[in-house]
C-alpha cells in the first residue's frame, strides 16, 4: 500500500481539467503521477491511497479528469478495488469521484468515447485485452 498526496507530490494549487487551459491540470496530474503510481500498486496487487487534503482548493474538473482517466484506462472494477480516496477537509469530493466520475467514465470506456489529451504525453499504462501495456494511446487533436 502506498499513499500519494496531491499537495506533496503535485501542487498546492491544482487547477482546471486540461493542459491547454491551465497549468497544473487534472490531465497533467494523471499523466505525470497518478497513472504510474496506480499501475505500480496494481501490479503488486496493492492499494493506492490518494490524499486530496491540504491544497488551496479544487475545481471539480481537475478531479474528474484525473480519476476518470484512471477508470478509462483500467476499468471501474479494478480502480474501485485498488484506489482509496482520502478527503477529510472536503468529503464531497470523495463522494463526487465515487458516485459520479467513476460510473460516468466507465460509461465512456464501454462506449469507446476516448479521453481527450491536449498535449503530447509520454507513454502511459492501459489495460488492453486483459493485459497492462504501455503506450501513447491518445494524441492531441488540433482545434
Amino acid at each position: 500500500m502506498k499513499t500519494i498526496s496531491v499537495f506533496e507530490n503535485f501542487s498546492e494549487f491544482p487547477a482546471l481539467r486540461h493542459c491547454n487551459i491551465s497549468e497544473k491540470s487534472g490531465e497533467e496530474f494523471y499523466h505525470t503521477i497518478l497513472n504510474k503510481e496506480f499501475n505500480e500498486q496494481y501490479e503488486k496487487g496493492e492499494k493506492l491511497i490518494v490524499n486530496l487534503d491540504n491544497t488551496a482548493g479544487y475545481a471539480s474538473s481537475f478531479l474528474d479528469e484525473a480519476f476518470g482517466n484512471l477508470v478509462f484506462d483500467f476499468t471501474l472494477d479494478i480502480v474501485k478495488n485498488h484506489v482509496e480516496v482520502i478527503s477529510i477537509q472536503e468529503p464531497h469530493w470523495k463522494t463526487m469521484i465515487e458516485n459520479e466520475t467513476y460510473p460516468q467514465w466507465e460509461e465512456r470506456r464501454v462506449n469507446k468515447k476516448n479521453p481527450v489529451v491536449t498535449r503530447t504525453h509520454g507513454a502511459w499504462f492501459r489495460l488492453d485485452k486483459n493485459e497492462i501495456k504501455s503506450g501513447i494511446w491518445e494524441h492531441p487533436v488540433a482545434a
Partner: protein, 349 residues
Amino acid sequence: MKKLYSTPDYKEWQRRRLKKIERDLRNNNRSFPKKRSKSNQKSRRISDIKYPVIAPTDLRLIENTEKCMEIFREMRSEDALSSSRGLKFVILDLRNVTQIDYGSISILTAIGDDLKFKKILLRSFLPANIECKNFMIESGYLNNLFDDNGKPFAKTQKSELIFFEKGSGVLSESDNIKISLLVKAVVNHLTGQSKHCLAVKTIILEICGNSIEWSGTDSKQWLLGVKYGEGKVVFTVTDVGKGILETLHRRLSKKFFESFKSMDEILKGAFEKKYGSTTKEVNRNKGLPAVKTHWEQGTINYLKVLTNNVILHFDNESLSNTFGIGAPRFRGTFYQWEMNKECLNKIMV
C-alpha cells in the same frame, strides 16, 4: 525630313521601352529610385470621430440592468468606434453619472480590457459627481483608460478596499496562486486569520474555468473583482465572451428552447445540470451546478448571474428577468455574490 513618330502604336511602344529601361536599371542595382507601390504609400489619415457613448445618471447594474446593458452594448458597437491619426478609440461620457455600483465597474473594466486587447483605446469623461468619481478612481478603473485628450490617466495606488485580478490565455500557476492569496486576504478580512478557504477557491476556479474554456473571447480573458465592506466581501467574475445562453443556443435545437416558458428558466437549468455538455461527454457539466450548491448551502449569499438577455437573482427569484425582444443583451457572463463571517463558519475546517 525627320519622320514624326506620333502614331498611337508608336507612343505605346515608346512607353513600354522606357518602362523596360527603368526596370533593367532597377534590377541592375543602379541608383534608381524604387517606385513605391500604391499600398505602401501613406494614405491620407482621415479623422472619424463618433459621438461619445453617454452613460445614464443611474449606472447601477443590479437596480438599472437594462440601461446599463444598453451602454455596454453601445461601447462595443462599431458605431461608437472613432479613429484619428491611426488610433482607434471609443469615447465614454460618464459625466452625468450620479449612482454607480461595483457590478457596473467590473463590467466596464472587463470591456475596457477587451477593447485594449483589440488595440482600441477607451477614452472616458469621469463623473462630475465627486462620490462616483472617487469610487471609480479607487477601483483602479482608470488604470487602463485614457482621458479626453487621449493621454493615460495617472496610475492610482492599489486600493485597500477594491481589488481586481485579471487573467488571459491558459490559467497559469502564478494566476492560480494570486487567486489563492486573494481568497486568503478575504478570509483575513472576515475572520482575522489568513488561511485558505477551499470552497471559495472552488467557486472561483469553476467560474473562471468556464470563462477560459467556453466564453469564446479572443484571449480567454477573465476578471475577478473583490470589494471589501463592513463585515462582508463582494465578489464579481466577468467575461465578455458569448455568454451562457448563446453557447447553449449553438448546440440545442430551437424546438428545445421553445419548450421552456422563458430564457431565465433555461439559464436556471444550466445550474441544475439539465442539459448535456457541449462536448457531449457524460462526465462534464459539474461547474455551474457546484456554484449553485454552494449558494444553497449558504456558503455564498446574494448570488446573481447576468448573461445575454437574462439576469438571475438566486436570492430573490421575483427579481429574475428575461429582457424582451428589442432590449439590449449583455454579450458575456457576469457573476456577483457576497460572503460574510457566517458563510465562512459553515465551511471553514
